[in-house]
C-alpha cells in the first residue's frame, strides 16, 4: 500500500514541478509574505502596531494565503484525473481508491509543508525580540496542518461526485469565504447569539481566536487553547467522514459517471 501511495505522490509532485503550477504558487506566496512583512516592519502607521498584534495579523495572513493556494491546487488533484480521462487507466492497475486518495492527500500536505518552510524566515524576522518565535511557528504549523487537512478532505469529497475542477473549486471557495468572512467580523458584529454559536463551531474563527490567545495574550500552552483546538479537530473529523462517504459511493458505483 505504501508503495502505491508513493507512486501517486511522486507522480503528482513531478506534475506540480513540470507544469510550473506549484512553483508559481510558491513564488506568489513568497511575494505576499515579503510585501506583508516589509510593510509591517517599515510602514509608519503599521509599525505603530504592538508587535504581538502584528504577529497575530501576520499569522492570519500566512494561514489565509496558504489555504487559498491549497484550495486551488487540491481542486485540480483529483478532478484533473477525471477531466483528462486518466482515471480509468489508473484504476485498471492494482491501485485501490485508498492508495489513490492517500497519495493525493500527501501531495497536498507536501505543498503546505513547502509553503510553511517559505514562511519560516518571515516568521523569525517579524517575531524577533518578542519571545514568541517558537509559539508563533508552532501554532501556525499546527493549525495550518489541521486546516489544510480539513479543506483538502472537503475538496476530495467534492471532487468524486463533481468530476470537475471548476465546480469543486467554486464550492470550496464558497465554503472558505463562508467560514472566513464571519471570522473577520469585528467584536460588535459577533455579539448576537447566532453569531456567537457560529463563532464557536467555525474552525477558521477558532484558529484566529487561538492565535490571538497565543500571540496577544501570551497563553501559549495547549491546555489554554483546548477550547479552540477541539472545534478545529471536529471540523477535520467531519471532513474525513464526508470523504469516506464520497469514496464509498465512488467505489460502489464504479469509477465512471453513470
Amino acid at each position: 500500500m505504501l508503495k502505491m501511495i508513493k507512486h501517486i505522490w511522486l507522480k503528482d509532485i513531478k506534475a506540480e514541478i513540470y507544469t510550473w503550477k506549484s512553483l508559481v504558487w510558491l513564488l506568489v506566496t513568497s511575494i505576499i509574505f515579503s510585501i506583508t512583512s516589509y510593510l509591517l516592519l517599515t510602514n509608519k502607521e503599521l509599525s505603530l502596531l504592538d508587535q504581538t498584534e502584528m504577529l497575530w495579523l501576520f499569522a492570519k495572513i500566512i494561514i489565509g494565503t496558504i489555504l487559498l493556494i491549497i484550495i486551488i491546487d487540491a481542486s485540480a488533484l483529483i478532478s484533473n484525473e477525471f477531466e483528462n480521462e486518466t482515471m480509468e487507466n489508473l484504476f485498471l492497475t492494482p491501485l485501490t481508491t485508498a492508495d489513490f486518495v492517500l497519495g493525493k492527500l500527501l501531495t497536498s500536505i507536501t505543498i503546505w509543508g513547502i509553503s510553511y518552510l517559505i514562511s519560516i524566515p518571515y516568521m523569525i524576522v517579524t517575531s524577533s525580540g518578542s519571545g514568541l518565535t517558537y509559539a508563533f511557528m508552532g501554532y501556525v504549523a499546527f493549525f495550518g496542518t489541521l486546516a489544510v487537512l480539513g479543506f483538502t478532505m472537503l475538496i476530495f469529497a467534492l471532487s468524486f461526485p463533481y468530476k470537475s475542477m471548476k465546480n469543486t473549486l467554486t464550492t470550496s471557495f464558497v465554503v472558505l469565504l463562508a467560514l472566513t468572512i464571519p471570522a473577520l467580523f469585528s467584536t460588535t458584529l459577533k455579539n448576537n447569539a447566532l453569531a456567537k454559536i457560529f463563532g464557536q463551531i467555525n474552525p477558521i474563527d477558532n484558529i484566529f481566536s487561538s492565535l490571538d490567545n497565543v500571540l496577544v495574550d501570551y497563553k501559549t500552552s495547549i491546555g489554554q487553547n483546548l477550547t479552540y483546538i477541539i472545534p478545529v479537530l471536529v471540523f477535520c473529523i467531519l471532513m474525513l467522514f464526508a470523504l469516506l462517504v464520497s469514496v464509498r459511493i465512488f467505489s460502489r458505483r464504479g469509477i465512471l459517471k453513470d
Binding site: H7, L92, T96, L256
Partner: protein, 241 residues
C-alpha cells in the same frame, strides 16, 4: 481449453436506458475474440464491466475464474486499451510506461519499459513529452501500457483508431504474436476486415443484447452470407427490424 472470461446474464442501465440487457457469453483461453456491434450497442460498456471499471446491476463476471470484484487478482492478469485516451502530457513516453510498471509492481522495470518501447516503435521518441506525440503515437503508447504487466487476457477497444496503415499493421502483427504466445485477446472494433483477418471467434451485440456468437464460418453459414460485413448487417438489421 478453458474459460477465461465468463459473463452470466450481466445487465447495466444508465438511468432509464438499458445499456446491457442480460448479456451472457464466454471466451476460451487463447481465443482471438472479436466483439462487434453498431455504435451505441454497448461494446465499451461491456468492456468496462468485464474489466471492473463499471459495476453491473445484475449478473456475474468471472475473469480467469476470479470474480471481477476481486480487483487485485483480476488487475494482475488483464491488460486494457480502453476508450479513455487520456495521458499525462507533461510526462515522457518512457516515464509514462515506468509509472505504470511501478503501479503493477514490475521488478525489472527498466528492462520491461525498454523492450515495450522497442515493440511499439517509440524508442527514438522515448524522452519526448507525450504532449508532443501525434494521435497515432499516443495510441501506440496506450497499447504499450496495456501490455506492460504481461497480461494473460488483453481487452482492446478500437486499438487501431487513429493509426496510419503501417501503424495498424504493426499493432496487428504484435497482437498475432501475443495470441500465438497464448494471450487471450478480446478485440472490439468497427473495422470488419480487421476482425475477419485476426479473430477466430466473434460475438455481435445490438441494443445491449447478444445477437450471435461463434466462428466466422459458422455465422456465415447461419446467415448464408459470404463475408463478415454481410453477416454483421444481416444480424444487426434483423434485430433492428
Amino acid at each position: 481449453m478453458n474459460e477465461v472470461i465468463s459473463a452470466q446474464c450481466i445487465s447495466k442501465s444508465y438511468g432509464n436506458i438499458k445499456a446491457i440487457d442480460c448479456l451472457s457469453f464466454s471466451v476460451q483461453r487463447g481465443d482471438f475474440f472479436g466483439f462487434l456491434g453498431p455504435n451505441g450497442a454497448g461494446k465499451t460498456t461491456t468492456i468496462r464491466l468485464l474489466t471492473g471499471i463499471l459495476k453491473p446491476d445484475d449478473g456475474e463476471i468471472l475473469i480467469n475464474n476470479h470474480s471481477v470484484r476481486n480487483k487485485k487478482e483480476v488487475a494482475k492478469v488483464i491488460g486494457v486499451l480502453s476508450e479513455s485516451r487520456g495521458f499525462y502530457d507533461w510526462m515522457t513516453g518512457e516515464e509514462y510506461l515506468r509509472f505504470f510498471a511501478a503501479l503493477y509492481g514490475i521488478e525489472n522495470k527498466e528492462q520491461t519499459v525498454e523492450s515495450i518501447l522497442d515493440e511499439i516503435g517509440l524508442s527514438d521518441r522515448r524522452r519526448s513529452a507525450i504532449g508532443t506525440y501525434s494521435r497515432g503515437m499516443k495510441q501506440r503508447l496506450g497499447f504499450g501500457r496495456s501490455i506492460i504487466n504481461n497480461p494473460e487476457i488483453l481487452f482492446l477497444d478500437e486499438p487501431t483508431l487513429g493509426l496510419d496503415p503501417q501503424g495498424q499493421e504493426d499493432i496487428q502483427n504484435l497482437l498475432t504474436k501475443l495470441n500465438k504466445k497464448g494471450v487471450t485477446i478480446f478485440y472490439s472494433s468497427h473495422l470488419l476486415h480487421e476482425v475477419s483477418h485476426l479473430c477466430s471467434v466473434i460475438a455481435i451485440i445490438n441494443h445491449g443484447k447478444l445477437v450471435a456468437s461463434g466462428t466466422i464460418e459458422a455465422l456465415q453459414e447461419q446467415t448464408k452470407s459470404t463475408d463478415l460485413r454481410d453477416v454483421f448487417l444481416t444480424l444487426t438489421h434483423a434485430k433492428n427490424d
